[in-house]
């Protein structure tokens, strides 16, 4: 399988990956020869656990960026598969075309009917071309909005998964109103009469992320990032040097802990040691639990209460000083 290749691991996680491979080798050869290596394997497992904790306890912001973009990281379709018992994908914006960079549809979570919408990245070159690396065109945001309005009509909560480098910068995207499509989603999400739960699962890149991000509650996975521009873009503009992306990542305060500090997100969902890509199912079940808890909390609110609280939530965002004037 292509994505088993070593190149698909990050440099800083390689020692851990290699140790795990060694454990597997020891185990395999012992099985073949009928030897008992349980104490050796146990020792190595403990070592791997320590190593994992060590590596992941002191991640630099740039390493989080790399984890958030990890080619093995669970995508929206992975979360859908692990969380919901039913899913019917709905396609198209009814105006131009279907944008595969955003997926959405009717989902069932235990006893709840929900509308699910999320950015969709590919796993390899071929699927990434189909998904445009998770960078949506206006028609993607318009499909998302069509589904949100449908959810509102049927009184179903909306859950969004955010994972995009940003809205696609292209000629067709501009011609068809990329800015208008994003802006409209911001306004309409603010006014939606049903609960909206947002989970930033990977890259929360700029306006293209926010266009699915105006929710009653916004959660971030531990190694997800959220920022106004990519670290490379920020470095190119402010440092005039796009190799300074790691410095930019640090300055931009784009980690989940930063976003929580700034009051932009409501909570962080822990990832397994080694990151979400090491165990899709575990992280998906944590996301599922968070969605269920949050919906239970929001379901008692009326449409007007939801809208008022959502407006208050976003009005409170921002930090400034008030000085005496005149």
């Amino acid at each position: 399988m292509e994505w088993k290749k070593k190149t698909l691991w990050l440099e800083f996680e390689l020692p851990l990956v290699e140790l795990e491979e060694r454990i597997q080798t020891v185990q395999d050869s012992a099985d073949v020869r009928g030897l008992d290596v349980s104490s050796e394997v146990q020792r190595l497992r403990e070592k791997a656990e320590r190593l994992g904790r060590e590596i992941f306890a002191k991640l630099e912001p740039w390493q989080r960026v790399q984890l958030a973009r990890h080619p093995r990281r669970p995508t929206t379709n992975d979360f859908i598969q692990h969380i919901f018992s039913e899913f019917d994908e709905l396609h198209g914006d009814r105006m131009f075309r279907d944008d595969a960079a955003i997926v959405g549809g009717l989902a069932v979570l235990e006893d709840r009917n929900l509308m699910i919408i999320g950015h969709q990245k590919g796993r390899d070159t071929k699927s990434n071309i189909k998904r445009n690396f998770g960078m949506a065109h206006p028609e993607g945001y318009r499909k998302a909005l069509r589904l949100m309005h449908m959810a509102a009509r049927f009184g179903r909560p909306v859950v969004t998964f955010i994972d995009t480098p940003g809205a696609f910068p292209g000629v067709g995207a501009e011609e068809r109103g990329q800015a208008e499509a994003i802006a409209r989603n911001l306004r309409e999400m603010a006014d939606l009469p049903v609960p909206i739960v947002v989970v930033i699962t990977g890259e929360g890149g700029s306006g293209g992320a926010l266009a699915l991000g105006v929710g009653d509650r916004v959660y971030m996975l531990e190694n997800a990032i959220y920022s106004v521009i990519s670290p490379e873009g920020c470095a190119a503009i402010l440092w005039r040097d796009n190799t300074k992306a790691a410095d930019a990542a640090k300055a931009m305060k784009l980690t989940a802990a930063d976003a929580l500090n700034l009051g932009v997100v409501d909570g962080i969902i822990d990832e397994p040691i080694g990151g979400a890509h090491r165990d899709h199912k575990t992280v998906a079940l944590r996301v599922k639990a968070q969605i269920q808890d949050t919906l239970a909390e929001l379901e008692g609110l009326s449409a007007d209460q939801l809208r008022d609280q959502r407006l208050e939530k976003f009005l409170a965002m921002g930090i400034y000083d008030q000085v005496p004037s005149g």
Partner: protein
């Protein structure tokens, strides 16, 4: 009087017509015609030869659009705070300080109330000279407050944009201002309070992708650059040349993204006509809001 007011006064004095010497001139950036400042001033800084709209200051727009003696500035004293301790080649603190000194302004937006042909309006104007008109917490907060003023007073809202987009030095907080301003606009829309967005050169990024594209009516000045992504980024991404006139006002009109291109000379009367269509002869408070 604070140093800010003094600085603002100084700038106003500089732009007063009588202070412009006869021999000051510049070349039209579009057609290279020699344009004398005195003539430009009379012509609202529009090239007499080709119609190119040169930069116009916030004060000049105020004088152009708002009935004399009716303007009242609001939400003063809201100033940027370096909440992230952001530093690139220069610290954000120093950038703010330098911009305040250079422009004599608190930040990149001016808000206030006044009358436009006797129609009460709440107006926000972005200022490109202050950090490229970028939107951070202050711009977002003041625009949101101005929109809430419209909601409370049931008076029309006008936002004049020119901006490079979200202010990178406030990172996520800048991004959130897009949601904040758009969320209030949902309320104006539900209450049928008119909002007209005026796009001037250049309007890009997070400003375009929020309030600027959400007007009941969207007006663009001729020849303005308007878009989401910057032309350089797009060129790099698609690795080919951009079509002629790409992201110009005229391009947006052709693609259905703005309602009209209006020259400076016709701006006030056009706004007045449109606002009267929206509000005249009816009590807005009894009108049933129309959703959708």
């Amino acid at each position: 009087m604070s140093w800010l007011d003094q600085a603002a006064k100084g700038i106003k004095a500089l732009t007063r017509k009588k202070d412009i010497p006869d021999n000051l001139w510049r070349k039209c950036p579009s057609c290279s015609e020699i344009l004398y400042h005195r003539e430009l001033e009379r012509n609202l800084w529009v090239c007499g030869a080709c119609g190119h709209h040169l930069p116009f200051t916030t004060e000049q727009y105020l004088e152009l659009l708002i009935d004399a003696g009716t303007w009242q500035e609001t939400h003063r004293g809201i100033v940027s705070k370096d909440s992230l301790g952001f530093k690139d080649s220069k610290s954000y603190k120093d950038r703010i300080k330098a911009s305040r000194k250079k422009t004599g302004k608190d930040d990149a937006v001016l808000t206030g109330k006044g009358e436009l042909e006797q129609i009460p309006v709440v107006v926000s104007m972005l200022d490109f000279t202050f950090m490229g008109g970028s939107m951070g917490s202050v711009v977002g907060e003041k625009i949101a407050r101005a929109l809430l003023d419209s909601l409370r007073d049931r008076s029309a809202n006008i936002i004049l944009s020119r901006s490079g987009g979200a202010r990178m030095q406030e990172s996520l907080l800048s991004l959130m201002q897009m949601a904040k301003t758009s969320a209030v606009l949902a309320r104006l829309r539900n209450e049928a309070i008119p909002y007209i967005s005026i796009l001037t050169h250049p309007t890009t990024g997070g400003v375009t992708a929020s309030f600027a594209m959400l007007g009941d009516v969207i007006i663009a000045e001729p020849g303005a650059l308007i878009g989401f992504a910057g032309p350089r980024v797009i060129k790099q991404t698609i690795n080919s040349d951009l079509p002629d006139g790409f992201q110009s006002s005229e391009f947006l009109l052709e693609h259905g993204m703005v309602d009209q291109i209006v020259t400076r000379k016709e701006l006030k009367q056009t706004l007045a006509r449109m606002l009267r269509w929206c509000v005249a002869g009816r009590d807005v408070s009894v009108r049933q809001p129309i959703r959708g």
